[in-house]
Subunit: 342 residues, 3 copies
C-alpha cells in the first residue's frame, strides 16, 4: 500500500491541512507511529501526542484546532475513529481469503459441503451437519453431529462445537471456543453427586463474535441463547440456560451463572460475575469485577461486589480510605464526652 | 418420544391430577415450556410459573396444593427434581453412542487399543499409553506418553493430557481441558527467572467431571490430585501440587494457587481465589468471588475478599452503604461537642 | 536413578550430616516424602515437617541447626531451593526428547522444515512460516501464515498461532494457548456494533513462558508485545496493543485490558484486572484479585479493588470488621449528647 495524503483525503472525503504529498505506507497508534504512518486522534486523552507524533498523516476531527505547531499532515474528517475503522476494514478485506478443502479432513457421509467453503486440514464434520454459504472452518475445528452453521460463518482454528448446536449467519468464533459443553448440573445423593444429563443445546444468533477460549454450555433442557449482535470477549463463561440479549457486549473473563437472562444493549466489563437465576434489564453499564446478585433495572451504571450505583461506589471507596480516621474520631469523642459528663 | 401422562406416571410411580391422556413430546423449563412439554417444579421461586405455564405436564411434589386453577396436567411425585433428572438421563442414554476407530488417528506402536473404544479422527495416542474398557476419546484429543486412562472415561474433542498423568474410572473431561501442563515455578536469578522443571504429574481419581477449558497443572514433584467425585466447572485453574478432596464441587473461573489442600464436600462458588500453601477443611460453603487466605475450618459459610463469615459480610455490605452518613454524623457530633464545651 | 547421600553431596558441593550411605530413589515435597525421597527445606513455614518427614535425605541451608533429632540425613548447601531446582532440571533433561516428523502433518508448500524439528501429528504449518533451530511443535498445533518461530521454541499440543505473529527464541507455550486472536474492537453504529478489523500482530520476545489456555490478542494496529523473560501463568487474558515489560511475572486468570503498558520486573498476583489505557511502572508487587485503575509508580506493594497500598488495605480490612461497632457507637454518642444538651 502506498497512498498520498491527497489521495486518502479523496477516499475519506476529508480536508488536507499540510503537505498533500505526504506518503502513507502503514497504520499505527499515535504514540507508536513513525515515518509513513497514518494514525488518528479520537480520544481527547491522547491529544498531547499529536504535537510529538512521528506519523506522516493524522486523521482528526474537523473541529480540531492545534494549539502548537504539528509536523504531521492532518486530514480533517467528520469522525476520525469511524474513518480509520473503515480504512482498516478495507486493508483487511484486501488480504487473501482462504478457499477450498485441505487434506486430510474428516467429513461424515452424506454431509453436503458447499463449493465455496474453506475447510482447513484436520477439521472434523460430524453426521448430518448443515453448512451455509461462504463458510470458513479453519484447521482442527470440531463440528459435532447435527450442528447447523449459517452463511458467512468464520470458525478459527480449534473451535469445538458439540452435537446439536446452531450457529447462525455472519458469526465469528475464535480459537479455543467451546460451544455446547455440558452445563454444570449435579444432584446430591448419599454424600456424592449424580450427573444430570444436559439434553438441551446452544443457539448463537446472527452477527455474534466470540473471543478466544470462551465457553458456552448447552442447556439442561431447551437452549442457551446468545442473541443477535452480541459481542463476547475472551475467556468468558456462559453457563447452561443463560440468555444474552441483542447487542450486549461483554469484556473478558466475565462469568454468567446458570439460567441468567441478560437484556439488550448492556455494556459489561471484564471479570464480572452474575449469580444464577437472575434477570438483567436493558442498556445498563456494569463495571469491571462487579458481582451482580439482582436486576439493576434499565439504563443503570453500577459497579462493585455486591454492585451498587457507580457514584455510591466512588463515595464508598473514598470513605474507606478514611475509615481509620473515623474510628479514631469516635474514640476521641467518647473520651471528651466522658470528660464533659464528669 | 411420545408418552401420555398416564404412561409417564407409571414409569415414575406418580399420581396424575388432570388429563391422563395429555401427550408429552419434549422437555422444557417451566417458564419456556409449550404444548407437549414435560416440565417440573422444584424451586419455590418458580412456583408462580405453574399458573401460566404452557407445558402439558408438570412434575410436582406430592404435597403441592395449587392456589388457583392450573391448565397443565400434574404428576405428583416424591422428588420432582430427582424424577426429572432420572428422565433426562434416560433420554440421554437412548442417544446413539459413538464406537469404533475413525481415520486418520495416530496411535503409537505397541499401545493396546481395546475393541470397545471410540477413537475419533485426529486423536493422538502417545507411547506406552494404557486405555481401559469402554473409553471414548473424541476427535483431536492428545494423550501424551505414559498416560493411564481408566474404564468408562469420556474425553470430549480437544482434551490435552500431558505425559505421565492418570485419569481413573468414569471420568468425564470436556473440550479444551488441559491436564498436566507445567506448574508455574520459577526461581529469580540475576534479575530474570529460571524455570524449575516440573517433574511431577496429575492424578484425576474416579467419578470426576471437569468443565471446558479448565487447566490442571502437574506437580513440581509428586502429584496434583483431584479426588474421587470432584466436579469442576469451566475455566478453573488448578495449580501445581494442589489437592482437591472427595466430592468437592467448584463453580467456573475459580483459581487455586500452588500447594493448596482443599478438604471434602466443600461447595465453592465461581471466581473464587485461593492463596497458595493453605489448607481448607471439609463441608464449607464459599461464596462467589471470595478471596481465601486461611483455613475457615469445617462447615463454615464464608464470602468476601478477604473472606469472612457470610453474616458478617452481609452486615458489612449494609454498613458500607451508610459510610457517608456515618462520616457526616461524626463531623456533626464534633461540632455539637465543641458548642457544648463552650 | 539411584544415588547415595554422599554422591549427591559431591554433585551439589554440600556437607552430609547423618548417614552418608542413605539411598535416594525419588523426589518429593517434605510433607509427602517417603523412604528413598530426596526433599528440601527452604520456606520456614515448613520447618516443623523436618522432624517428622519420612524422606531419606533433606537439602537444608548450611546455617540450619535442628532443635530436635531428625531421622533423615541432611545435606547442607548454600541455597536448598536453587540446588533442588538444579537437580530437577537435570532429571528433566535426562528424559527422552521428541524428534522427527510424525504423520500426517500439514506443511504448506515452500516452508523449510529444519532437520532437527519435532513436528507432531496433525500439526498445521501455514504459508511462508519461518521456523528456527531445535523447535518442538507438538501434535495438533496450528501455525498460521507468515508466522515466525525462533530457535529452541517449544509449543505443546494444541497451541494456536494466528497469521503474522512472531515467537522469538527459547519460548515455551503450553497447550490451548491462543496467540493473535482479534482484539475486542467494535464501533457502535445505529444501535448495533461494527467490527473494527484488527490488522496488527503479536510479538512474543525471547525466554517467555505462557501457561495453558492463556489468550494474547493481536493489535488493532502495530503489535501486542510480551517482552523478554516474561512468565505468564494459565488462563490469562492479554488484550490488543498491551505491552508487558521484561521479566514481569503474572499469576493465573489475570486480565489486562486494551493498550495497557506494564513495566519491568513486576510481580502480579492471580485474578487481577487492569483497566484499559493505563501505564504501570517497574518493580511493583500487585496482590491477587486487585483492580488496577492507575499507575502505582515504581516499587509499590498494592492490593484491593480499587487497589491501595497494601498496609492501608490491611487496615481497611480490619476496620471493616468493626463497622457495626462504629455505627452503634455513633448512635450511642448521639443519644448521650442529646441527654447532655437537656
Amino acid at each position: 500500500m502506498e497512498l498520498t495524503a491527497k489521495q486518502l483525503a479523496e477516499i475519506v472525503k476529508g480536508e488536507v491541512v499540510g503537505d498533500e504529498g505526504a506518503k502513507i505506507t502503514n497504520y499505527a497508534k499515535i504514540e507508536e507511529a513513525h515515518e509513513g504512518s497514518l494514525t488518528f486522534l479520537a480520544n481527547p486523552k491522547y491529544t498531547h501526542y499529536i504535537y510529538t507524533t512521528k506519523a506522516s498523516v493524522v486523521l482528526v476531527n474537523k473541529k480540531f484546532e492545534p494549539e502548537k505547531t504539528i509536523s504531521a499532515t492532518l486530514i480533517k474528517v467528520e469522525d476520525p475513529y469511524a474513518t480509520l475503522a473503515m480504512l482498516l476494514n478495507m486493508v483487511s478485506a484486501m488480504q487473501p481469503q482462504k478457499k477450498g478443502i485441505e487434506s486430510p479432513v474428516y467429513v461424515s457421509e452424506g454431509v453436503e459441503v458447499p463449493d465455496d467453503i474453506y475447510l482447513g486440514a484436520f477439521a472434523y464434520i460430524g453426521q448430518n451437519v448443515k453448512i451455509g454459504k461462504n463458510v470458513k472452518i479453519y484447521p482442527q475445528c470440531y463440528i459435532g453431529d447435527n450442528v447447523t452453521i449459517g452463511d458467512n460463518v468464520l470458525l478459527y482454528s480449534g473451535v469445538k462445537v458439540y452435537q446439536g448446536c446452531e450457529i447462525k449467519n455472519n458469526c465469528i468464533i475464535h480459537s479455543g471456543v467451546v460451544i455446547g459443553s455440558d452445563g454444570f448440573g449435579f444432584a446430591p445423593k448419599d454424600g456424592s453427586y449424580e450427573k444430570i444429563a444436559q439434553i438441551g443445546r446452544v443457539i448463537i444468533e446472527e452477527d455474534v463474535e466470540i473471543g478466544a477460549n470462551t465457553t458456552v454450555d448447552r442447556a439442561t433442557m431447551g437452549a442457551t441463547v446468545v442473541k443477535k449482535g452480541v459481542k463476547l470477549d475472551n475467556l468468558i463463561q456462559v453457563a447452561h440456560n443463560v440468555e444474552i440479549g441483542e447487542h450486549t457486549v461483554i469484556a473478558a473473563q466475565t462469568g454468567i451463572a446458570g439460567s441468567v437472562k441478560i437484556g439488550k444493549h448492556n455494556m459489561i466489563g471484564g471479570q464480572v460475575g452474575f449469580a444464577g437465576h437472575i434477570t438483567i434489564g436493558d442498556n445498563n453499564q456494569i463495571g469491571a469485577q462487579s458481582g451482580i446478585h439482582a436486576n439493576p433495572g434499565d439504563g443503570k451504571v453500577i459497579i462493585g461486589s455486591p454492585a451498587v450505583d457507580a457514584r455510591m461506589f466512588m463515595k464508598q471507596s473514598a470513605y474507606l480510605k478514611r475509615l481509620g480516621d473515623m474510628y479514631n474520631s469516635i474514640r476521641e469523642i467518647e473520651k471528651e464526652l466522658n470528660n464533659l459528663k464528669k
